[in-house]
Symmetry: none
Subunit: 264 residues, 3 copies
C-alpha cells in the first residue's frame, strides 16, 4: 500500500542508505566492545605520536642580506652578511598561531637538524657575471656557542641566450602581467646533522662571498632529521599505526585483566 | 467574493509577503523579550569591539627623499634621507575625516607594529645600474627615544630586454596615453614587531643607501599586529561575536536578577 | 460639445500640462507660507555659505626661473631660483575680473594652505641626465616672515626608447603641426598645511637644485585646505544645505514669534 504506483527500484534506491545504516549499526553493536577498545587504543597511539614526532619537520625563516652602504665597496665584491634571530621568528610564529618546530623538551637532545639556504636570484647580467659564490652558515645556541658551521658553493643555472629567449616567450603572459619574473630559486643544504642543542637554536649568521650578487629574497630552512624510532613512526605511518594500535590494545587488555584479577 | 475573477495563485502570490511579514511579526512578538535581550547584548558587544580593536589595521604615509643638492655628491652615491612626522600626518588625517590607527589609550602599550616601505621606481638604466640598495628605518616615540630600527635590502625586479620590449608593446596604449609609466612598485617590511609606545609613534627617518636611485614616490606603511585577545576578536569575528553576545546576555540576566533580588 | 470631432485622448494629452500646472499651483498656494519661509531660509544659507567658504579653492601663478648668466656655472649644476609676488598676481586677477582666493578677513587665520609646484619639462637628454632634483619653496607673509618652507624631490618620468618612439609616432600629427611638443608636466605638493597668515601670502621663492634642468614653464599652485565646519559645508553640500536651511527657518520662526509677542 505504501509503494502504490512507485516502481520497486525507486523504493529500493530511496531505502538503500537507511538499510545500509541499519546494517552498520548492527555490525557496530555486535563488535562494539572490540571497536571501543580499538578506538581508545588508536586515540592513545595518536596522543603518543603527537608527543614523539614534532608537529612540523621543517621551518623556514626569511633572511635579509645587509649590503655594504658604500657603492664602491659593493662593486668590489666584499661579502654580504645576514643574521637570523630564531627566537624572534619563533615569537612571530606563536603570535600568528602557526605551529613550527617544538623546541621544548619533547624533542630530546641528540636529535639532529639540517640547515639549508634558499636564494631567489634574478637572471640578471650582474648575477651571471658573479659566477659561483660561497654561502657560509654559522649556527649558535642559547649560550652563544657555535653549534654548527658549514659552507657550500652555489651558482645560478646557466641559460643560453636561445633558451632564455624561449623561456621568456613561453612564460610571456604571466611575465608581462607581472605574476612572475625572470628569476631562479637556488636551494642547498649548507650544514648537515647538527645535534639539536638544549633550548633550541638561537641565532644564525649567513654570508654570501660576493656582494655583487643581486638577491630578491632568501630564506634559511631548518629541517628536523628523524632518526631511529621517530623515523619509522613518521615514514612508515600506516604500518606503525596499525602495529602500535594493536600493541596498545593488547596492553590495555592485559592491564584490565590484571586489574580485575587483582580487585575481584 | 474577494478573489472573484482573479485566479487563486495570483492572490496567493500577492498575499505571500504579507502573510510572511505577519508570521515574522508574530514570531518576534513571541520571542520579543529574548530578542530585546540579544539586541542589547549585541550592541554592547559591538561597543566593546570598537573600543578594543583599532578602527584600521594599517596606515600609509607618503615620504619624500631629500637628495643632496650638489649633483657631484648625488652621482657619488651618498645616502638619501627622508623624515616622516607621524604627528603631522595624523593631524592631516583628522582634518580630512579619515580614520587611521587610534593612537589613544584604547590601543594598550604592549601591542606591536610592523613598519614597511613602498618605493615606486622607474625602470631606468640608472636604477638598474644601482643594483641592490639598503633601506634603513628608525622610529622614534614622543620622547625622542628610538623605538625600533631595522634595515633591509631592496632591488628593482630584473627584466630582460626581450621582456621589457614585450611589456612596453603589451601596455603600449595606456603607456602612450600617459595613464601609466614604466615603473615598478617595490614593497618590503623593514622593522617587525615594534612594541607600541605610549602616545604612539612620533617620527621616523628613512634612508636609502644610494642617492643615484631614482624614486617616483615612496610611502611608509605601518600595520598593527593584533595579538592575543584582539587577534581572536578580529580574525574569528563571527565566532567571537556569537560567544561574546551570549556571554554578555548572561551577564545582563545575572545582573538584572541580582538587582531585582536586592531591590524587592 | 467641447471635444466635438476631436478624439478624447488628444484632448486629454493637450490638456495634461495645463491640469498639472494647475495642480502644482494649488499645491503651492496651499503651502505658500511654508514655501516662502524655506526660500528665504535657503537664500540666507546661500549668503552665509558664500561668506564662509572661499569662492575658489585653488590658485595657480606662473613662475620664472632665473638661470645663472654664466654658462660654465650653468653647466656646473648650481641651483636656479624664482620669486613669485602674490600681491602682484592678485592685482592682475582683480584687473582681469577673475576671482581667486579671498585673502580678506572672511578666511579666518588658522585655516591652512597647501603649496605645490607644476613643472613643464622637455623630454630632452639633458633633463634625463639630471635625474632626480630638489625643489624648495619658501613662503613669506606681508611682514616678510617665513610662513612655510619645504622641499621635495621631483624627477622626469622615465620612458624607454621604444616607448618614446611609439609616443612620437602616435602623436606625430599634432607634434609635426606644432600643437604640442615632447614634454611632461610634473606636479607635486611641496609645503603642506601652512597656517593661513593674516593678510594672506605675500611672496614665495622657489629654487631647483640643478640649473642644468630645462624648464618650459612652471607654476606655483596654492590650494586651500578646508577644515572643520568648512569641510562639512563643502564636501557634504546637500546634507549641510538641508540641515542649514531647516535650522535657519526655525530661527526665523522663533524670531518672528518672539517679535510678535514683544510688539503686540
Amino acid at each position: 500500500l505504501d509503494g502504490e504506483g512507485i516502481p520497486e527500484w525507486v523504493f529500493a534506491m530511496v531505502w538503500w542508505p537507511v538499510s545500509f545504516m541499519g546494517y552498520m549499526l548492527r555490525l557496530i553493536g555486535r563488535f562494539s566492545k572490540l571497536a571501543f577498545l580499538f578506538s581508545v587504543s588508536a586515540a592513545t597511539y595518536y596522543w603518543l605520536y603527537g608527543a614523539i614526532v614534532p608537529p612540523s619537520l621543517s621551518e623556514s625563516h626569511p633572511i635579509n642580506f645587509l649590503y655594504p652602504l658604500d657603492s664602491k665597496q659593493r662593486k668590489g665584491g666584499v661579502p654580504t652578511n645576514a643574521t637570523v634571530d630564531f627566537a624572534f621568528y619563533r615569537q612571530l610564529m606563536v603570535r600568528s598561531g602557526t605551529r613550527g618546530m617544538d623546541w621544548s623538551s619533547s624533542m630530546s637532545p641528540g636529535s639532529s637538524l639540517d640547515i639549508g639556504i634558499t636564494l631567489v636570484l634574478p637572471e640578471s647580467p650582474a648575477n651571471v657575471g658573479v659566477g659561483p659564490f660561497m654561502v657560509k652558515v654559522v649556527v649558535f645556541d642559547k649560550q652563544g656557542n657555535v653549534v654548527g658551521e658549514g659552507s657550500r658553493s652555489m651558482i645560478l643555472r646557466h641559460k643560453s641566450s636561445l633558451l632564455q629567449t624561449m623561456s621568456t616567450v613561453f612564460y610571456s603572459i604571466p611575465l608581462v602581467l607581472g605574476f612572475t619574473s625572470e628569476h631562479q630559486a637556488i636551494r642547498g643544504t649548507v650544514v648537515q646533522l647538527i645535534s639539536f642543542p638544549k633550548g633550541g637554536l638561537q641565532r644564525a649568521t649567513v654570508s654570501i662571498s660576493d656582494s655583487r650578487l643581486q638577491v630578491y629574497s632568501a630564506s634559511i630552512d631548518i629541517s628536523f632529521v628523524l632518526t631511529g624510532f621517530r623515523y619509522y613512526l613518521y615514514h612508515w605511518f600506516v604500518t606503525s599505526m596499525v602495529i602500535g594500535t594493536i600493541v596498545i590494545s593488547n596492553l590495555y587488555v592485559s592491564l584490565i585483566s590484571w586489574m580485575s584479577r587483582k580487585l575481584f
